[in-house]
C-alpha cells in the first residue's frame, strides 16, 4: 500500500521549478501578494499613501525654521557673556571674602544655600561666561580666559579650604587673589568686546570708512546642525523604518541571492527574519540617534531666523530646508495671504495688496487709507512676491499653510493608524472571548456591544473629549483612546462571528484532540483564520479614525494650537474668501480616506479564500 500512489492530481496550483530544480508551489501569502499586485487601483493607493506618510514622517526635514547647517557667530550671546563676566567676578569675591558665619548672617531671606554651595554657584557663573566667550574666540585670545579661570579655581579652593578657621593671613591672601581676578576681568572687559554687527551692517552701506575703524573683536563662527538636533529618537525611528521598507526590493534581492542562495523554500521561511531585521535596524538606529544626537523638539519656535534677520547671529553658512518655515512661525504682516502663485496675492512695498478683492482703497468719504505694515521677509525666506513664498497661502496668524499641512499630516495619519490598531486589539479580544466561550458570556458581551452601538459615537467622543484635561492627557492620546474605546464594536462583532464559525470547525476540535490548551487553540489556531476580515475592517477603521479626528479638531475639541491637524486647519476660516484654507486640507483628507478604502477593498479581495486557489 505504501507504494500505491494517489490517483489524483498532486496539487491544484501548478508547481513552478525553482533554481535547484525543486518544485515550488505558491503559498498563501505569495498568492495574496500576487492578487494585490494585479490590482492597479490598490497599487496607486499604496503609492499615494506611502508618499503621504513620507511627507508626514519627514516633515521636519522638508518644512522647518531650523537650518540644516548653520555656521555662525552668536554676537548677542557672546556680548551678554562678556558683559556679565565682570559682575560675576565681583559676586564671587564678595562671597569668598566672607567667613561662613558672615555669609549665613547676611544671606538673603528664604535662601537655604550653604556657604560651599554659594561659593560653587558663584564659581559656576564665572565659568559659564568664560566658556561661552571661548566658543567664539581664537586660541591665543582664549589663553587669557583660561588663566582667569585658573585663578578663579584657586580662589575658590582657598576660600573653601579656610572656611572652618580663617586667620587674618588667609583673608589677606583671598583678597589678594580676588584683586588679581578683578584686574583680569576688567582687562577682558576693556579688550574683549565684540564688534556690534547690528550697528555696523546698515552703516557699512552708507559710510564705508566708519565701518572699518569699528572697535571690537571679529568672532569665529561655530558650526551646528540645529534641524537634526531637533529630531527626537522616535522620529528617527520612523524615518529609518520608512527608508528600510522602501528600500526592501533592493536589499531583499541581495538577501535572497547572496545569503539564501536563491533557494525558494529558504526565502519563504526567511520572511519573518526580514521583518525582524527591518525593525531591529530602525530600532538600533533610533537608539544610537538618541544616544549621540539626543535630539528633542521641545520648543515650537526656533530662534535662528529671527536672530539671523536682526543680526544677533552672523552666519558664514546657513542652509535652510526647502520650506523654511516653522509650523508655529507667524508672519504678522501676512495674515490670510492667498497662495503666492496667484495674482491676487501680490503685495506692494508698503504692505497693501496690489490687486484682487483685498486691494486697499481709500475711504470714499474721508479719504482715509487703512493702515498696513510692510511685509517682513526673514532670513532664508523667499522674496516678498515670489511664487515660492507661501505655496499654499497663510492662515489667520500668518503661518505658512504648506508647512502646517505637512506637520498636520503627522497627527492625522498617526491618529488614524494608532486608533485603528487599538480598536482592532480591543475588538479582537472581546470578540474572541464572546465567540469562543459562547453561552452567557457571549450573551452579556453581545448585549453590551449593542448598547455601545446604540450610542451616537461622535457625540459621545465629543462629550468625553470635553471632560478630558488636556494638560493631564495630551489631546492626541485622548482622541486615539476615545476612538478606540467607542469604535471597537464593529471588529468585535466580526471576530465573534468568525469565532462562532471556527469554533465548530473540525480543526478546532482536532487541535483539542491533539492535546493543545485553549489559549493555544484560540490564539494560534483560530485567530489567524479570523484575521482576514479583521485586516479589512482595520483598513476601513483607519479611514474612519482620520475622519473622526478631523471632525473633532474641526469642532475645536481635538488637537490644540499651535499643533496643526488637517481638521483643525480647515477650522481656521469658514469664509469662502479664504478658499485655500478649506480646499487643500480637505483634499488631503479626501485622498487619504479614498486610498484607505481602496486598500481595504483590495485586501478583502486578495484575502478571500476563494481567490486563493489560482
Amino acid at each position: 500500500m505504501t507504494k500505491v500512489m494517489d490517483g489524483e492530481p498532486a496539487a491544484e496550483s501548478a508547481p513552478t521549478t525553482g533554481p535547484r530544480g525543486a518544485t515550488y508551489s505558491k503559498d498563501y501569502w505569495d498568492l495574496v501578494f500576487d492578487q494585490l499586485g494585479r490590482n492597479r487601483l490598490f497599487k496607486l493607493a499604496a503609492v499615494v499613501l506611502t508618499l503621504l506618510y513620507a511627507s508626514a514622517i519627514y516633515a521636519p526635514l522638508i518644512a522647518n525654521d531650523r537650518p540644516y547647517v548653520l555656521e555662525a557667530a552668536n554676537y548677542a550671546e557672546y556680548n551678554k557673556a562678556w558683559r556679565t563676566l565682570y559682575p560675576a567676578s565681583l559676586g564671587l569675591g564678595s562671597v569668598a571674602k566672607k567667613t561662613p558665619e558672615e555669609y549665613l548672617a547676611g544671606r538673603t531671606e528664604g535662601s537655604d544655600l550653604s556657604y560651599a554651595q554659594a561659593l560653587e554657584n558663584e564659581r559656576m557663573a564665572v565659568e559659564t561666561q568664560l566658556a561661552t566667550m571661548k566658543l567664539y574666540l581664537a586660541a591665543e585670545r582664549a589663553a587669557a580666559l583660561d588663566a582667569l579661570l585658573g585663578d578663579v579655581e584657586e580662589l575658590v579652593a582657598l576660600a573653601a579650604g579656610t572656611a572652618e578657621a580663617r586667620s587674618d593671613e588667609d583673608l589677606e591672601r583671598i583678597k589678594e587673589q580676588h584683586g588679581a581676578i578683578k584686574d583680569q576681568a576688567k582687562a577682558v572687559r576693556a579688550e574683549y568686546e565684540a564688534r556690534d554687527p547690528e550697528a555696523e551692517a546698515p552703516e557699512a552701506a552708507t559710510e564705508p570708512e566708519g565701518a572699518t575703524e569699528s572697535v571690537g573683536l571679529e568672532l569665529q563662527g561655530i558650526r551646528s546642525y540645529p534641524m537634526f538636533e531637533s529630531i527626537a529618537a522616535w522620529e528617527s525611528f520612523f524615518m529609518l523604518l520608512w527608508l528600510a521598507l522602501m528600500s526592501w526590493p533592493l536589499w531583499n534581492r541581495f538577501w535572497n541571492r547572496a545569503l539564501l542562495g536563491g533557494d525558494r523554500e529558504r526565502i519563504r521561511r526567511a520572511r519573518r527574519q526580514k521583518l525582524a531585521a527591518t525593525l531591529a535596524f530602525s530600532l538600533l538606529g533610533a537608539l544610537l540617534w538618541g544616544q549621540f544626537v539626543g535630539g528633542s523638539s521641545s520648543l515650537n519656535l526656533a530662534p535662528y531666523k529671527q536672530a539671523l534677520t536682526e543680526g544677533e547671529i552672523v552666519e558664514t553658512q546657513a542652509l535652510f530646508p526647502p520650506v523654511p518655515y516653522g509650523f508655529a512661525e507667524a508672519h504678522s504682516t501676512e495674515l490670510y495671504r492667498p497662495p503666492t502663485w496667484t495674482s491676487e496675492s501680490e503685495i506692494d512695498e508698503e504692505g497693501y495688496y496690489a490687486r484682487g478683492p483685498r486691494r486697499a482703497e481709500p475711504d470714499a468719504v474721508t479719504g482715509f487709507m487703512p493702515s498696513a505694515n510692510p511685509v517682513v521677509v526673514r532670513f532664508g525666506e523667499s522674496e516678498r512676491n515670489a511664487a515660492s513664498r507661501h505655496w499654499m497661502g497663510t492662515d489667520s496668524s500668518g503661518r505658512d499653510f504648506l508647512t502646517r499641512m505637512l506637520w498636520g499630516g503627522r497627527i492625522s495619519l498617526s491618529v488614524g493608524l494608532v486608533s485603528a490598531f487599538l480598536l482592532v486589539i480591543i475588538g479582537t479580544i472581546i470578540g474572541a472571548v464572546a465567540g469562543y466561550f459562547g453561552g452567557w458570556i457571549d450573551l452579556l458581551i453581545s448585549r453590551f456591544i449593542e448598547v455601545v452601538l446604540c450610542l451616537p459615537a461622535l457625540l459621545l467622543i465629543m462629550m468625553a473629549a470635553a471632560f478630558v484635561d488636556p494638560n493631564l492627557i495630551p489631546p492626541i492620546f485622548s482622541i486615539v483612546i476615545l476612538i478606540a474605546l467607542i469604535r471597537w464594536t464593529g471588529v468585535a462583532r466580526l471576530v465573534r462571528g468568525e469565532f462562532l464559525r471556527l469554533r465548530e470547525a473540525e480543526f478546532t476540535l482536532a487541535s483539542q484532540a491533539l492535546g493543545f490548551s485553549s489559549a493555544r487553540t484560540i490564539f494560534l489556531h483560530i485567530l489567524p483564520n479570523a484575521m482576514a476580515p479583521v485586516l479589512v475592517a482595520g483598513a476601513f477603521a483607519v479611514a474612519a479614525g482620520i475622519l473622526t479626528e478631523s471632525t473633532l479638531s474641526f469642532l475645536g475639541l481635538g488637537i490644540q494650537e499651535p499643533m496643526p491637524s488637517w481638521g483643525s486647519l480647515i477650522n481656521d476660516s469658514k469664509s469662502s474668501e479664504h478658499w485655500w484654507i478649506q480646499v487643500f486640507p480637505g483634499f488631503l483628507i479626501f485622498v487619504t480616506i479614498t486610498c484607505y478604502n481602496q486598500v481595504g477593498d483590495a485586501l478583502r479581495d486578495a484575502l478571500d479564500p476563494k481567490m486563493k486557489k489560482h
Binding site: 500500500m1 494517489d6 484532540a513
Partner: protein, 342 residues
C-alpha cells in the same frame, strides 16, 4: 447496565467504557445522547461502532477524549478506563497529556480538520514538539518521516505546503500522519472515509490497517457504513438511540445478527444478487433524544414490539454460549425467525 459483563476480560482491555452516560441540556429538557454504553477495545484490535446519524456514536468518542462541550453536556454516570485509569476523573492537564499522545483522533472532513493557515508540516510538528519535546529540526524530520509513512510522495516538498494545495485523499493522509505522530496506543477514527470517494476510501482504510499492524495500536472506528466495518473491524458494537443494542465479533454479527435493528440494517443494504428490487427500509425515524420511548427504544419501529417492550428496558444478553455475542432484545428467538424470513 452490565458492569459485570466483561469482568473476565478486564485485565487485557486497552480501553473500557462502562455504563457511560453523556447527556446534554437542551431547550426541551435533557437529551440522553449516550445512555449507559459499555464496550471495550483490546490491544491491537479494531472495534467498529455502527449506527444511524444521531445515535450517539461520535459523542462516545468525544467522551473518551474529554472533548464533549461541557456547559450543555455532562456525564451522568459510568466510567472510561484507559489502561485502568478513569479518564472521567482525570484533570484537564492530564487529559491534555493523553490527547494526541496516547489517544488520537481523526475526523470525517479532511477539508476542514486541517488548519488552513499552517503548513501541514507545522501541524504535525506542533504535536510532537508539545508532547515529546522535540526541537524544531528534529520535529521537522519527524514530520517528513510521518508523511512518508502515510504514503505521501515527495514528503520533503509536501511538508511545506498548505492544506488547500493538497487533494482530499492527501489531506486525510496528513490527518492520519498528524494523529499518528506520537505513536498513540489508541486511534479514534470518526467516519474517516465518509467524505472521500470510493477508491480513496479503500486506500485510507488499508493505510489505517497497515499502520495498526505495524505499530500495534488499537482503533476505535466509528462509521455508519457496514461495508467499512466488515473490511476492518474485529468486534462490532451496534448503537441505537444512545444504547448499544448488539455487540459481538464481526463474523458473528454479519453471519447471524440477532437484534431486530441490526437485522433491519442488513436488510436495507442493496442486494447484488437481486438487482432492481426496491430497497427495504426500517419504518419510521430515529426518535428525538429528548423524547425516547419508554422501555425498549427501538419498539416504535420494531416489527416484533409487544406489551413487554414498552415496560421493560431490555439488557444485553448473551446469545452464544461463550458470551462473546450479546444483544438487547426481549424477543431474541423471534428475531431469529425475522432473519430467516427474509
Amino acid at each position: 447496565m452490565g458492569d459485570g459483563q466483561h469482568k473476565e476480560t478486564q485485565g487485557e482491555a486497552l480501553l473500557e467504557v462502562l455504563g457511560l452516560k453523556t447527556y446534554f441540556h437542551g431547550d426541551e429538557g435533557i437529551a440522553q445522547a449516550v445512555d449507559g454504553v459499555t464496550y471495550r477495545v483490546l490491544p491491537g484490535e479494531t472495534l467498529g461502532i455502527v449506527g444511524e446519524s444521531g445515535c450517539g456514536k461520535s459523542v462516545t468518542a468525544l467522551s473518551v477524549l474529554g472533548l464533549v462541550p461541557m456547559p450543555p453536556g455532562f456525564h451522568a454516570g459510568g466510567r472510561i478506563l484507559f489502561r485502568g485509569e478513569d479518564l472521567l476523573q482525570a484533570g484537564e492537564a492530564r487529559m491534555r497529556e493523553i490527547r494526541g499522545n496516547d489517544i488520537s483522533m481523526i475526523f470525517q472532513e479532511p477539508m476542514t480538520a486541517l488548519n488552513p493557515v499552517f503548513t501541514v508540516g507545522n501541524q504535525i510538528m506542533e504535536t510532537v514538539m508539545l508532547h515529546q519535546g522535540l526541537d524544531k529540526e528534529a520535529a521537522r524530520q519527524h514530520a517528513i518521516a510521518m508523511l512518508e509513512k502515510v504514503g505521501i510522495p515527495s514528503p520533503e516538498q509536501r511538508v511545506d505546503e498548505y492544506p488547500h494545495q493538497l487533494s482530499g485523499g492527501m489531506r486525510q493522509r496528513v490527518m492520519i500522519a498528524m494523529a499518528m505522530a506520537c505513536s498513540p496506543s489508541l486511534l479514534i477514527a470518526d467516519e474517516p472515509t465518509t467524505a472521500l470517494d470510493v477508491t480513496i476510501q479503500a486506500q485510507v482504510l488499508d493505510l489505517i490497517g497497515e499502520l495498526q499492524e505495524r505499530e500495534g495500536m488499537s482503533v476505535l472506528l466509528i462509521t455508519h457504513d457496514l461495508g467499512v466495518v466488515a473490511q476492518t473491524a474485529d468486534h462490532v458494537a451496534v448503537m441505537y438511540a444512545g444504547k448499544v443494542v448488539e455487540y459481538g465479533t464481526v463474523e458473528a454479527i454479519f453471519k447471524e445478527p440477532r437484534h431486530p435493528y441490526t437485522i433491519g440494517l442488513f436488510h436495507s443494504l442493496p442486494d447484488l444478487a437481486a438487482p432492481g428490487e426496491r430497497l427495504a427500509t426500517i419504518e419510521g425515524i430515529v426518535p428525538s433524544a429528548f423524547h425516547f420511548p419508554s422501555g425498549c427504544r427501538f419498539r416504535t419501529r420494531c416489527p416484533l414490539a409487544g406489551e413487554r417492550c414498552a415496560q421493560e428496558v431490555p439488557e444485553l444478553e448473551a446469545v452464544t454460549e461463550d458470551g462473546e455475542h450479546t444483544a438487547a432484545c426481549h424477543f431474541l428467538e423471534e428475531a431469529r425467525a425475522l432473519q430467516v424470513e427474509s
